[in-house]
Every structure is written in structure tokens, then in C-alpha cells.
Symmetry: C2
Subunit: 425 residues, 2 copies
């Protein structure tokens, strides 16, 4: 805003951020919660056999290593001699160094400790990152997509209004379809900022090394910034598939990576994640000066946060211990076992099934031309299973639904049983 | 941004948020940390007797009620039957209802449970609130002030550049001086949004009922929004002084209140706070429609957050139990005991002392015309005591320094002893 102009404007009431008024309906998951609540209230008997495979929320207990570390940290805070108050706004050194060393340097990626920024989860980070970016960027986002990327851009005023299919004016949408195996190629037009998420939420697709190389090439050619959401990287078992964008030569100069302990350590309620931003990542001013984003991001954290709860950070650190890593592997194997059971059942029911191999999400074509919400309602009413309607992730998600593998084995098997017996004619 | 215009701009590189480049030097506390680190490295002997009264960080262990509740919550998460994942993005009902009932309704203020928004601390909230406000607001901020209010407005593009005294173009500064007992009267000009903080950080001043009534009247007349930071309300012992802006008739229709468990429960490292926003609080669109801010704030939390760590919320809840409340009172009495010791010593050393009666901060005029940073350096070098230079809080803080009462009694008494023996001639 031009501050001089501001002086001339004498408002008669505080102004709200009108961009919020462009947002459509409720955020997806609250809307699902509302429909489920209404169904359960109207059908108390069916409610008893309800199984939730909707929101991607973990179900298994925390790894014992994290439990022990969190309790030990709380104990530290209960004694004057070991009490700690404010920590580094960007995260504790003890945690940042573990992340940088074990997740990156040990795998051949040059990431310094102070290039790790600890947060309360990658959902927050995906929104916060816009704080340090300018308003003139051309934004490209895959479709379907995790709704947070789009909605935070709408809130920040980077879009116009949505059209009939729910696409916002001003965003470049990258269609992800069965034809491209749900991994889009870089567009023919210029974008300044591109959101990518692999393993993908919601489709469960993963990007090959060659595909990611093409994205890094695009970013180099266009000097674009890749916002790479790797929250599900722990679910990749295929050794050919990159787990980080920084595995691709040049990636550290063109990408920010988002990661989370939500789906590895079962931290959806504990809250911890991080972003990785190298000091070599540049962006420009309107007059063309190229500056590192790192100092802006560092300043953002210094000014707007006081880091993550100390016991939580100690819990996250414990996931890097030998026991912690084994326990995380156990959790992932459990959920991927569910994914196999659910995928096979959906296939056996005659459905077209994607994902679920290197990702905890199964992406299923709705049978007989049902819309996503029709399928959601029928799964709820007939099978008493909550799924996520594909259209909630964008117009290209229409005609699909997502089954989450985050569940107990007993529930996954019961859902599989109901799916095999289902008929959506 | 006009989305149509955006299509015309074909940038050659991702743009950064240039408003960050307007920010001055480092954020205050990192700058203090840097000077202290350099001093300690150069003077290892003096470093051993260093006492920190700078950053307002608590020193005493967590209340046992919170420790017990946090550990019990971690135990809950360690067992499948009681495991919890994502909570309500706006905070757990168990905590929101306690806050609304005990802090507000029991004291005669009409606040509903869903008007409480739980966060990781009021520092974050003070920045986040700008997400839902428009860019055309005239912002008024006290001087001196907690730097976060100013810096987050600079980041959001609500200001021009700073002038020689560090004041940003576009902000209305409200001087707080000894003459007005550091409580400003409403200005003669129009403001849309006003930041107020009582008990004040850094001056330790409190606002009387009559003073707050004048601010609510101003807000009603100008349809202004008051952003009321009550992070230190627990330190008010004078029953005549309001602890909430909502105690003033009309306050619920013109103010947002920020509160924190940092200085009551000693949660600076645990991280929990909350905002209170009633559904009766309105703001306007550019074309003059008046809408509740509550739905925007609710949506912000749904989209950008997954609430606060579950064990942390249970720890905060425990501060409302009978034992928890007694333990919090004990902590506050401890720190206010320090405040008395430190105030008396500074007075005995011939200094002009403010605050420290209903607030954990003592605001002291520098002797003999020393600047704030000169006094900071001399306190560091001669007394080996870290204070906060007043000018770090704004131009009106020049000529003052802040002593924090957050310390052990032994340290407070030692600082008092050194102060009494000091000579800054």
C-alpha cells in the first residue's frame, strides 16, 4: 500500500480483508464433519458402525520413543535447574541439526542446520510462506490439490473470483488426470511460484526422478520458485523415487521443501513439522534486485513466532533415534498394509484404483458416473464409511474419491469387506 | 491485487515481499542476544556473574498441575484407545469452555466458548490478526511499544519507510511519557485500528477504568477496532484496574483481546495463548457492508492451522483447576516480589522508576542523560546485568530502560545489591 495514499483515506470503520469473501463454502474437512454429524444424529444405529477413512488422520498411538522424550522434557520443565523458557524462534538447535544431518546430509544433500525452520506443521507453513512472497507472482497449482494452497492464495489476494467450476481467476491450474498418471508436466506458460506435492495428497501419485528434473529445469528457465510439499515422503518405499526435491541437481536453488512429523511419528495432534530453505534460494524485488529469501523467512519467524513447544520438539527429535526410526518404520508399514488391503478390495469391487503404493491415499474413480459428493453420501449411507469426495480437492477431482489408509487393521479389513459387498448400481 | 492485471505481468523471477526490506536492524531481542554473546566471549570471567533481566522470560518451573496434565495427555496419546489426532482448529472444547467460563463469564463478561481461539501464544496472534484485516486501515500504535505490533504492520505493507527516529510513515504513534503516566489518550484524528497493551510491555503502566472507557468511546465514535493485548493481566493486583477490555460496556463490540499463558503458567517454552473475538464485532468492506470478523477469523484458523499441541492444551486447562490457580498465584506473587525488590533498589540508586506495581516490568529513566543503548552497555559491562534498552521499543523509549522481574529471588536480590552500589556518573 502507498502510505501517502493511506493518509488521504479516512475510513469510517475498520476494514476487513475482502479476499476472504471470495472463498467458497466451508473448508473441505469441516464440511465433511458437518455431513457426518448430521447423518449420525439422524441414524444413531448406523453411527455405531461408522468407520472414518476421510480426513488423513493417524489412528495408531505415538511411538514410545516420542512418548518417553516428551515426558522427560516436561519433567525438565518441572525443575528450576533444567527449566527452559523461550527457545530459538526458528527451532531448537538439537532438532534442527538432527533433521539436517539425518534427513538431508546423510543422503547427500547439502543442507545446513540453519536452513531448517521448525514449525507446528506443514499446513501452517504452506500458508506462512506467502508472508515473504510478493503480490505480483503468477501462481501455478495442481488440480486436484490439498485445498490449503489455493485458499491461502485467495486470502492473500492473489486471485480473482472463482468461476463455475470453482477455479479462481489468476491461478494457473495444472490438471492431474489418469492420462498423465496424476503428475503434471510443466506448463507452456510462465509461472513464478509452483506448488508441487509428492507423494500427492489426494491422488497418492509419486513423481519420478525424470519428472522432477523437468520441473527443476522449468524453475531454472523461468527463475520460478517451487513450493515442494513432501509431507508424505516417509511413505515412499520404491528406491527409484526421490524423497526430496533437493535430490535433484539445482533443487536447492529453486525450491522450498515442507515436511511434517504428522504422518511419520503420528504427530497430527502433537504438531510439528519444518520447512527447508537454503541460503542460495533467491527472489527478486520489483526493480530486479535478486536477494536471498532465507533472511526474510528468518525474520518472519523471529517476529511472528516463539518456536514450537519444547516437549514437542524433544518428541520430534526422538523420532531420529535408532528406536524412534524403527518405530516410525513400523507405523508406516502398518498404514501401507492397510493401503494394500483397501486397494485390493476397491479393485475387487470393480473400481478403477490409483495411488496407495508409495502413499497412504487411494484415489478411486467413482462408479457409474456418480459425482464425488453423491459417492460420498452413498458410502456414508450404505456402507457407513466416510471417504473424501474428490471434487473437494478441485474440479479435476470430480468423479473420484479418496480413501485414507490411516486406520486400525481391523477397520481397514472391515471397510474392505463392505467394499467387496457393495453395489453402486 | 487485481487478478486481470496480474495476467499481464510476466515476471522473470519470483517476487519477494519488499515490505520486509523496510524493517530496521534486527528484531530487538536477537540484537540484545548478539551483544550479550559478544560480551561474554570477550569477558569469560564477567560472563560467570551475568544476570539476565532483559527479555521477559520466566525462570521458575512449570506449575505441578500443568506438568501432571501434560504428562497424562502424553500417556493418553501412547495408547490406541485414548489416542487423539487432529483437534478442532480453533482449540479443544475442553479448554475453550474453561477460558470462557472462568476468565470471562464468571466475571460478568458475556463471552461464548466459540469466541475463544486457542493459539501457540499472543506473539503469533498479534501478527495473525492482520490476515483478516484490510490494507486500507489507519493504524495507531503506542510508543514505546512491543515491537511486534509495528513490525507485523510493516511486513503487511501498511507503512512507508521509517524516518530518522525510526517511526514508519503511515502509522499514528501515540506517545506514552511520564507526563501521561504512559497511558495515552485517544488521538484527535481518525484511526481504524488501535493497538493497546495493559499492563503495558515495556512500561509496566496500567490503564484505569476511566481511561479504558475513553478508548471504548473513541472506538464507538470512530467505529475503530481495538486490538487489546492483555498478556500480563494476571499481574494486576489492584481491584480497581480492569483486567479485560470486555469489562468496559461496549468493549465486546469494538475489541479483540489477546491473552497468554506464558507469564501466568510459565508457558514461554510450552507455548499457549488465545484470542477472544465476539460474534458482535464488525468490520466493513470497501463498499460499506458491515460484517462480523468472527467468521473470517474462524476460517483463517480452519485453513492455516491445526490447533495447538494436545498435551499443551491439557497443560493450559490444568491452570484453571483449583491447584493450578493457586500455583499460578504463587508464581505471580514470586515475580511481583522481585519487582518490589528491584524497584526499591533502582529508587535507592537515585533513579526515576515507573511500573512494577501491577506488572512484571520496571521502566527506569536512564541517569545523567545516557542513551538507552549506552545504559544497556554500561549495565552489561559494569554490573553484568542484562536489561532492555528503552529505545528498542520505539523513539519514546529513548532515555529509559526496562528491568524484567522474571528471575529467581536470589538473582533479583543480587541485581538489587549491584544497582544500589552502582554509580553511572
Amino acid at each position: 500500500m502507498d502510505a501517502t495514499a493511506a493518509k488521504v483515506i479516512a475510513g469510517t470503520m475498520a476494514y476487513l480483508n475482502e479476499n476472504y469473501l471470495k472463498l467458497q463454502a466451508g473448508y473441505l474437512f469441516p464440511e465433511i464433519a458437518r455431513r457426518v454429524r448430521e447423518f449420525c444424529e439422524a441414524n444413531p444405529e448406523a453411527a455405531k458402525r461408522l468407520i472414518r477413512c476421510g480426513i488423513g488422520d493417524v489412528t495408531e498411538p505415538l511411538p514410545p520413543a516420542a512418548v518417553q522424550a516428551m515426558k522427560a522434557a516436561v519433567d525438565e520443565l518441572s525443575v528450576r535447574e533444567t527449566f527452559r523458557g523461550y527457545g530459538h524462534e526458528q527451532g531448537g538447535d538439537f532438532l534442527r541439526s538432527k533433521i539436517a544431518q539425518i534427513d538431508y546430509r546423510a543422503r547427500g544433500m547439502e543442507i545446513a542446520d540453519d536452513e531448517i525452520f521448525v514449525s507446528d506443521g506443514s499446513k501452517s507453513d504452506c500458508g506462512f510462506i506467502l508472508d515473504i512472497l510478493g503480490d505480483r507472482n503468477r501462481i501455478a497449482i495442481t488440480n486436484p490439490v490439498y485445498p490449503v494452497y489455493v485458499d491461502t492464495n485467495v486470502m492473500a489476494g492473489h486471485t480473482g473470483l472463482p468461476n463455475e467450476s470453482g477455479q479462481y481467476e489468476g491461478i494457473i491450474y495444472l490438471p492431474c488426470r489418469a492420462e498423465n498418471e496424476f503428475v503434471p508436466e510443466p506448463p507452456n506458460e510462465h509461472a513464478d511460484v509452483v506448488y508441487l506435492c509428492f507423494p500427492n495428497n489426494p491422488t497418492g501419485a509419486v513423481a519420478t526422478r525424470a519428472q522432477l528434473e523437468r520441473w527443476v529445469s522449468y524453475a531454472q528457465e523461468h527463475k520460478a520458485l517451487l513450493l515442494y510439499d513432501a509431507a508424505y515422503e516417509g511413505y515412499i518405499s520404491d528406491p527409484q523415487i526421490p524423497r526430496s526435491i533437493f535430490e535433484i541437481p539445482g533443487g536447492t536453488e529453486c525450491a522450498v521443501e515442507f515436511r511434517s512429523f504428522s504422518k511419520t511419528g503420528g504427530f497430527t495432534g502433537v504438531r510439528c513439522g519444518f520447512t527447508v530453505m537454503t541460503k542460495r534460494l533467491l527472489a527478486q524485488t520489483a526493480d530486479g534486485r535478486e536477494l536471498p529469501l532465507h533472511s526474510l523467512w528468518h525474520r518472519r519467524w523471529s517476529t511472528k513466532a516463539n518456536s514450537v513447544s519444547y516437549p514437542v520438539q524433544r518428541g520430534a527429535e526422538a523420532l531420529y533415534s535408532e528406536e524412534g526410526r524403527a518405530q516410525v518404520r513400523g507405523l508406516i508399514e502398518h498404514y501401507m498394509g492397510n493401503a494394500r488391503v483397501l486397494s485390493e478390495a476397491a479393485k475387487a469391487a470393480g473400481m478403477e484404483v490409483y495411488g496407495g503404493k508409495n502413499a497412504p491415499y487411494i484415489w478411486v474413480r467413482t462408479p457409474r458416473g456418480l459425482t464425488s459428493w453423491q459417492m460420498f453420501d452413498r458410502m456414508l449411507q450404505e456402507l457407513n464409511v466416510v471417504v473424501t469426495p474428490g471434487s473437494g480437492f478441485g474440479s479435476e477431482g470430480e468423479g473420484y474419491f479418496r480413501i485414507s489408509a490411516f486406520n486400525s487393521r481391523a477397520n481397514a479389513e472391515e471397510v474392505a469387506r463392505r467394499l467387496r459387498g457393495a453395489s453402486f448400481s
